[in-house]
Amino acid sequence: MPQAALEDSQPRVVFTQTPDDGSCAHLHGRWTAESLAVEAHWDALQADLRSVPQDCHACQWDLRPLLRMDHTGAQLLWNTWYRQWPDTLYTLPRQRAMLERVAQFSSVLPPRRRVTPWDLFLRLGAVVVRVEEHVVGAVRLLGQLLIDAVQLVRAPRSGPWRDVSGHLYRIGATALPITALVGFLIGVVLAYLMSQQLRQFGADAFIVNILGVSLIRELGPVLAAILIAGRSGSAITAQIGVMRVTEELDAMKVMGIPKGFRLVLPRAMAMAVAMPLLAVWTTVAALLGGMLASDLVMGLTPAYFVTALAKAVQVSNLWLAVGKSTVFGLMIALIGCHYGLRIQPNTQSLGEGTTASVVTSITMVILVDALFAVVFKDVGI
């Protein structure tokens, strides 16, 4: 019985020849999308349909034995008939209604508009306009931030302090473990690599100078900034972007709450405070890692490392690091907000905006770091 049922549900066309009526096609099985999509069914049915005589309209079609037909099956049949009614057709009322609907609505898909050279030219213009929008938007955001900062200085009590402290916790405090781990490992790796090179020259003690300057001045701040750009820059963009998608930004506007003062300013402030602290924290972790590795590989005691570090690295390096970390923090927050506010209310734009925000902020961190290196080349070395 199961075997019979299986065969029965297979969609197929059976041709019979009767001497007086001519050829007649009987449809059997389930002509539904699900059944047709079974590969064996589809192949067998295609073979059946290929044997349909050329003048398929002259032959009789009997749909009544069908177990079930849906619109996809009806469409297949209609296409087999070259979208014309056969001369003789036996159907149940519902099958007829379905076929008539398919016949009524079968239409050719309007083609997509082709891309012309003029379109390409317009696209180039659109790119220029988009770049201009970015620049104008960034300048406007920075200007608004300055205005908001002035307003905050004038009336500090009305500032969004609750938001600032929340962001400080989320951006700063929750990032402590990951930045410490990454910093420590980088310190260990650097110390190992350096020690092998330095030993060739018998200049083991210089590891303190190299680690001190490179970690405090460059690697600490940049590492922390890149980690935070990936971690919190993306979060800022996504948060603001989702607020756009759910119309929260519009709701704020309607209530007369300035988004610059309530969304951008607290994030920028929290970043500007948290970033230098995180940079120092990462540097300390990296130095600890370097100290441990130097002790293990070269036998430099931590006590020696600390005293030598104070002599080898001028304090101005630390101020430079803190200063540029503040700039990095501001930059990451502003880039995050900039892309967040540009997001369109759909999921694709949200994803693209977040990616663009992270890529831009990491690139900008490295660019600005290079700029600092050139401008302050005489400081602290």
Binding site: S9, E34, T72, T91, L92, R101, Q104, N346
Partner: protein, 291 residues
């Protein structure tokens, strides 16, 4: 059109008699209910506090019905719909959909068993209208592209949309168009059961009437079983054949609209016989009495 032989009535089994899964069933399914909910308990946990939403809720939906589920805010109408779909698991009790437990409904091939119109459409925003509607068909990975496209164009026009909209993105559509596209997507595999969550919410009265007319005609033409959650009294009176009122954590009454408004319960009085209710009732009076 060319001349046809007269359609044959009678001796053959009715179309759609094999609604259950897995081909021509061994048992007489046409008599079995499409959805059967028995002794359902739902609990919602928010912030550590358990809230009992349904308690011993029973509801049976027969084939071909157009059932409206009505209830106050927070009475768990949408939850009920999600449980029928197998998106949420009830705390206790059983839900049987098309002869199988609801939890199995979302397994592969679900699109051919049930269609769902979500409140906000839930169109895939990365796809065009055409790709959205074609998605369940294309996922079968067996049907040729031109057949899929033809089938989509038929469904698109069945829900009253112009073929020119086929290449638009969901973000470029109005609210009413999104609902129509979502309906076309829900119907692409001709499922026997269609669920609607607030189908007319967010539509203006004209469009809402047009949408009701569309659902009613599809219900008749395709022989669908339709279950909808709605607040809109016009919709309820205009298209439902039966109304189930959810209050006091269970279905208090489950009958044709005319009998439901006669039921004595504070919620029913408030909902159907308040100011808005009386205005909408004009519709019911205007309808012929022959159901």
């Amino acid at each position: 059109m060319s001349p046809h032989a007269p359609p044959l009535h009678g001796s053959l089994p009715p179309e759609g008699a094999d609604l259950a899964w897995g081909g021509p069933a061994a048992r007489p399914v046409s008599a079995a209910p499409v959805v059967e909910i028995s002794n359902l308990w739902s609990v919602f946990r928010t912030a550590g506090v358990d809230t009992l939403i349904h308690k011993d809720l029973n509801l049976t939906i027969q084939r071909g019905e157009l059932l409206s589920i009505v209830g106050g805010s927070g009475s768990g109408k949408t939850v009920l719909l999600r449980q029928i779909l197998g998106l949420e698991t009830p705390a206790r009790g059983s839900i049987t959909v098309l002869g199988r437990p609801a939890a199995e409904l979302t397994h592969a091939g679900a699109a051919s068993r049930v269609g769902m119109l979500f409140q906000h459409g839930a169109l895939y925003s990365a796809f065009t209208v055409l790709e959205n509607i074609a998605f369940p068909l294309r996922e079968l990975k067996a049907l040729p592209e031109d057949l899929v496209r033809d089938a989509v164009m038929v469904k698109l026009q069945m829900v009253g949309l112009d073929p020119a909209h086929a290449h638009k993105m969901p973000a470029d559509l109005s609210g009413g168009m999104i609902k129509r596209v979502a309906l076309a997507r829900a119907l692409i595999m001709d499922p026997p059961l269609l669920l609607l969550d607030e189908p007319t919410a967010g539509l203006d009265p004209d469009r809402s009437d047009a949408f009701c007319a569309l659902v009613r005609s599809l219900h008749q033409e395709l022989g669908l079983t339709v279950v909808m959650v709605t607040h809109d009294l016009d919709t309820i009176y205009e298209i439902s054949t039966r109304v189930a009122v959810v209050a006091d954590k269970h279905v208090i009454v489950d009958a044709p609209p005319r009998e439901v408004i006669a039921f004595d319960h504070p919620f029913v009085r408030e909902f159907f016989l308040g100011g808005r209710g009386l205005r909408a009732m004009e519709l019911l009076r205007a309808q012929p009495q022959d159901e």
